[in-house]
Symmetry: C2
Subunit: 436 residues, 2 copies
């Protein structure tokens, strides 16, 4: 039986999952592929810790070079994460004619252009199904199955940590910091959770989805990104009263040659399928001109789902090698030199509905003041509640608007926050009611 | 620019959609593929009707032979449907070295083994993404991305007509025959709806999913299939009172070397994501040992979503041809000669919860009679309602059971139906509470 030889860079959680999957289901993989996937070398700085999988010590090395430049390696899996040395290792492996499988969204979101160009020049493949949505086969769906479609939008819940925290805040009425602490204790959030909770990880993934769907290069810094650390249990509770769930959404929409690219806490109707995506699950929703709306749902992170995606990529490249066709499809679904550079719409130009919450003094006329200013900025009110009154304390006023221009909303809030009767900085959260 | 040449058999609804997609998005396809997909010939018995798409008359022929044996055709799309002449045409095209793309689940469910063996012998590909779930990329997800997984189960809502009818029965409290008539008038059900409403179409699709997930050949006749024509609005209403939705589900579970393979109306908890799949939408849910649960959702039928899947297959084969690797992957994800023949568990051996509805005389002791018989067959009652009483008429008794053996349920009902106090044939519907 033929053999495809694999080198692994990074023997952490996901790496361990990959080793486990290739070991446990070796027979199944050989049957399906008609060839063996052989783990030929594993490089990590730490080769002594017991990961709970049995590995021939001869496969282990602390020298990445043995993987990157190993004569007998067909595919290199990069699971180191981060920018360096991952970037240098991947580029060198590509130069050496190795195919690449990676789960590293940060690397690809920032250095994808360089890496994909190198891959095209060297006629090797770079697959990265594991980088978005864990085990959910979303990247190849866009690149392959849905390839005839012109996409109108792509959006989704792409970060398991944030979704876990928001789900618990919703279910328990608990505060962000409290749930985060607990999530860290339980392994659902990293010790330094910044990348997750500030939306950076979600934005990395959105960058990849945008390039895939719209065939465009993207300047990562142009993606608007707002995390969940400012979300209060109170806003989640009011959202439910209005019939909305609060999720951290990645959103991109195509609009007349430009695209929206934004990550922020978003209220969506409780009836929307994304509202039911709880805990560490992820979901991606796409709308194509022929396929219509498609939703893909599954575990967005974790050792085993991510390993599933990595191994799927290994098998795909294995099939290409066996069929004699290396470099079957470009990393982004179209040749790098044909990719466009669509302009990203600035946030001020976004049109959305808004949830607004004000903390005002308890005296007559406050609402008239606030609604007067909103009216002057063309922001019309869809509904309003004044949920509770504590003697002496500030009075919350919660308003749901009709569609308005973000620029106007920001200006109106700045003006409202100047009012003497408004006690704290006003809060606004975007609402997406027509996600399809 | 290189060119992949395509012949189309069957210029009906889906065929028209494919022509439209290849025309409307030709530039997009060329950019992504790096080659043109050229429609070189279209064969149909009717080449005069205006389908609303502009086609060069020189491409049209009534002679299928010009597609099947055309020297300049790389890929043949079969959209005739049914068994013959589709089977003969496909086999002949394969012999001629053409790759095949088809949406014909009936053909593949019954003659797949023959067709896939011929394809392997002739080193051509047979892709059929459009045959299950319309535009949803489920087949390639199983074959490619999830290929490392050993699957525990696959199930889903696979027939848009049935789901549309059940959704309307649920929303309107309307009767089956009434909604069917309306669905036919609106084009959501065929003039002869038997294949759809009796579950045959769903069973065809399930047969394909089973072969893909479990690597097994399957005797189509061994799949248990029960349609929705016997479903009453009353049962849907009672189901909701107990917190369940009623769906026509295709279900397969792996159990110690054997599989369950069944299609029937099924009650599922209202909180389950499948309960929200309404109208003509389809959804497939898979559970793999590494990926965990995955759900794929989208439009399950219709001209445009189905055309999206057909074109995705064309592009996939196009990429293989361009990369120089024909016959990249076997139709069922593993070589035909390695497929097993798993035994299908008989329905009598199924263990499930059940919804039971009895029509009894309004007199004391009836429930004692019924529950006594159920008890003797090891069927324990989870909950019971006696929803209403009309003076003089039969009294409905609705029971939800704990898990029980289907054989016992059938025996118990046969015995209960013999009771003088039971007036009509008792009704039972299977419940799936633990779909993951």
């Amino acid at each position: 039986m033929k053999e495809i030889r694999i080198g692994l860079l990074g023997f952490g959680t996901i790496g361990t999952g990959v080793v486990k999957a290739l070991q446990n289901n070796a027979e199944l993989v050989s049957q399906r592929l008609g060839a063996r996937l052989t783990l030929a070398k594993i490089a990590d700085l730490d080769i002594t810790t017991d990961r709970g999988v049995k590995v021939d010590p001869a496969l282990l090395t602390t020298n990445a070079e043995e993987v990157i430049s190993g004569d007998d390696i067909d595919i290199v899996i990069e699971l180191i994460g981060g920018y360096e040395p991952a970037r240098s290792f991947v580029l060198k492996a590509i130069e050496n004619g190795k195919h690449i499988v990676t789960a590293n969204k940060a690397l690809l979101a920032l250095h994808g252009e360089e890496i994909f160009a190198a891959a095209a020049a060297n006629r090797v493949e770079v697959l990265f199904e594991a980088s978005v949505g864990g085990g959910i086969p979303v990247i190849s769906a866009i690149k392959e199955n849905l390839g005839v479609n012109s996409f109108a939008s792509v959006f989704g819940i792409l970060n398991g940590t944030c979704n876990y925290i928001l789900t618990r805040m919703t279910d328990e009425g608990a505060d962000f910091s409290e749930v985060l602490k607990d999530a860290q204790a339980n392994g659902y959030a990293e010790a330094d959770p910044t990348f997750d909770i500030e939306g950076v990880d979600t934005a990395h993934k959105l960058a990849l989805l945008i390039s895939l769907c719209f065939g465009t290069k993207i300047d990562f810094d142009a993606i608007y990104s707002e995390g969940i650390s400012g979300v209060s249990a109170l806003d989640i509770q009011y959202a439910r009263q209005f019939g909305y769930a609060l999720k951290l959404l990645a959103i991109s929409k195509y609009d007349a040659g430009r695209i929206e690219a934004r990550v922020h806490p978003t209220m969506i109707p409780l009836q929307h399928p994304l509202a039911d995506v709880s805990g560490v699950f992820n979901a991606v929703r796409l709308v194509g001109d022929f396929v219509g709306p498609v939703m893909l749902y599954g575990r967005g992170a974790g050792m085993e789902p991510t390993a599933s995606a990595v191994c799927g990529d290994l098998m795909a490249i294995g099939r290409n090698i066996l069929a004699g066709g290396a470099s079957r499809s470009p990393a982004m679904g179209c040749p790098p030199e044909t990719m466009s550079t669509l302009e990203i719409k600035g946030m001020e130009e976004i049109v959305s509905q808004y949830y607004l919450r004000f903390a005002a003094t308890d005296q007559p006329g406050v609402l008239a003041h606030i609604s007067g200013i909103l009216g002057r900025y063309d922001i019309s009110i869809a509904s309003m509640i004044q949920p509770e009154r504590k003697a002496g304390g500030p009075v919350p006023i919660v308003i749901m608007t009709h569609e308005a221009l973000e620029k106007n909303v920001r200006s109106a809030l700045a003006e409202i926050d100047q009012l003497d009767v408004v006690l704290n900085k006003s809060c606004f959260i975007r609402i997406e009611s027509d996600l399809d």
